[in-house]
Amino acid sequence: MQKIFLAFFPFIFFASTAFAGKMPDFRLQNLDNKTVSYSQLKGKKLTVIDFWATWCKPCVRSIPKLAKLHEQYEKQGVQFIGVNVDGTRNLSKVRPFAHSLNIAYPVLLDVNNEIMNKLKVTAMPTIIIANADDEIVFFHQGYRPGDEKTLEEEIKKLLSASEKADEK
């Protein structure tokens, strides 16, 4: 019993705290084989990062919905970035797959799952939103039909908070 309590202790301890993570300024290769950094790509107000893989059914279902949101909010300072975690097994397929899906935002290749591990991502897909100060303000794992509406509400809420902060 004592052992189980100790193992669960971190859960209890962190229950009331907020996200502490900051988005690291990572560098990854894009689909054109070029190394780019997060700071080069990040949005003026928000950056939405989608961790996905070609073998992941819910990831593939969610991508067209994310592409639509990107189209809608890009001009308002929201940048979407896709981080593909396929590894070497499917690496050759990522570029044709992403192009045929017409993903207009940058897709980066996290072959070693390095960024995925740094950000404590354990499920596919996972959506992370970072604000202009690179603070992680939203974290959502998995995809259920209708999740894109929650994401849109979150983007609107964060954009409005950012505008209020700018006014001050």
Binding site: K3, I4, L6, A7, F8, F9, P10, F11, F13, F14, T17, F19, A20, G21, K22, R27, D32, N33, K34, T35, A53, T54, W55, C56, K57, R61, P64, G87, T88, R89, N90, L91, S92, K93, R95, P96, F97, H99, S100, N102, N112, N113, E114, M116, N117, K118, K120, V121, T122, A123, F138, F139, Q141, G142, R144, P145, G146, D147, K149, T150
Partner: protein
Amino acid sequence: MKNKLLVLLVVFCAGKAAAQFSVGNTAEYQVGNLPHENPDDLTAFYNQLNLSYQWRDWRGDVKLERFQRPRQERDYTELTQRTLRYNRGGFDFAAGNFYEILGRGLLLRSYEIPGTILENPGERIRYGFYRDIDGALAKFTSERFDVKLLRGKPLRNTFPPKSNAGQRRPYLLDGLETNLRLLKNFVIGGAYLRDHRDEGLREFGSLAVSGNVGKNIQFYSEYAQRLGGNQRFDLSDRSAHAFYSSANFVAGAFGLSAEYKDYNDFLLEYNDPPPLIKEHPYAVLNRSTHLINPKNETGWQGEAFWHTASGHTLGLNFTQSENRFFGKKIRFEELFAEAGLKLSEQTTVKGFFDRSADQLRREKDRYAGGIYWEREWARQWGTALDLEYQTLKRDFDPGQTVKNYVASLTLSKAPKISAGLILERSTDPNLTDLPNTTKVETKRRHWAGYTLGYQFNQHYLVNVFYGTRRGGPACTSGICYEVLDFKGFEMRANLTF
């Protein structure tokens, strides 16, 4: 006692400076066992805590794993990873446990499959699924040039954390890789790797070239071989080598990928050459995957994608692999086709067909098909139905046709709740015979499982499983492993801060 103090100290420090800490924790509790094995209420608890501390350009990471079963000799609490990193601009230094790849993994690939827990079938010990390197790494990355240097001991993840350190990390590796962008679109690279074993030093080298031809074509080729002999760029059976080449083509909504492999005597234990076998999201196909054998394998894979603007999709894949055993050729072949229709903004339906033959498993005429239907209802409710069927014949029993069925239904309410039912049935004689009876059961076997997922908030995700789960080979993130059958109750909680 020492370990308990360590947990408390880490948690205490996290509380003092929460703004600079990030936490990921996976806890899984099971009551159950392999189906038809006693006791049927065996309990197991596994916890993996990943803590990171970031201070300016410095970062510290630790992974603490804990496993408990009633038979305490299998319990462990181990600090399985600890890493100190410095990262500034294009420079990256790491001391401790790290993951790295040389080229496309022909020489070296370390990895972690987050969210997956391995279970050692012999001792029934559970532990995290990763193959890291314990040592030091120095990297520099820029737009025109990159270089990496590493020294360390790769993990043999078939041994759980409690095993002897010498068994888990038996070799010391030294590696170097550099890549140079020659022109705007072409990169040439080379790598050197050596391992120190009791039997002596082994050395390997590789050369790679990659690039873009216009906007439509991209290619990558890498050749690796063991150094020390007289052969250079030798693709015959006499040399230890690995050759991998791929090209892809894009034009509007159409995409095409083609890959070729030739591996001989290249099973290094710490490498992971691309297998060129499709990774299927469908259960019946994922389970029937071909596992590569870098000791001797050649083959190719082609895949085409087409996504229309209105949301319809078409995918085609063809794979062929060949191994040679004692002069005999053993072939694996697969043709896979998938079509998706977007019936409305709320409804999509996908269908697939697969035909394969695996001479190594002595399975021929392996056909599979299925339908996946998804519907989004009002107020973010959703339904998904997955129906899959597979049939095959085996060389040694031509009169018997094996049939596998999978049916799953999931109801969800975004963004918090999902509940599902998974039913499986098989007539495979390797599975129908129950181990706890003297009779040989040959008719059929069923598995039924219920799942429930609840996302409390952005930090907590809980998944519950109750029932029986069919095991077998599974592939996640390109890595294949064996999943054990399970009957009972399982609860997994994920925490992220």
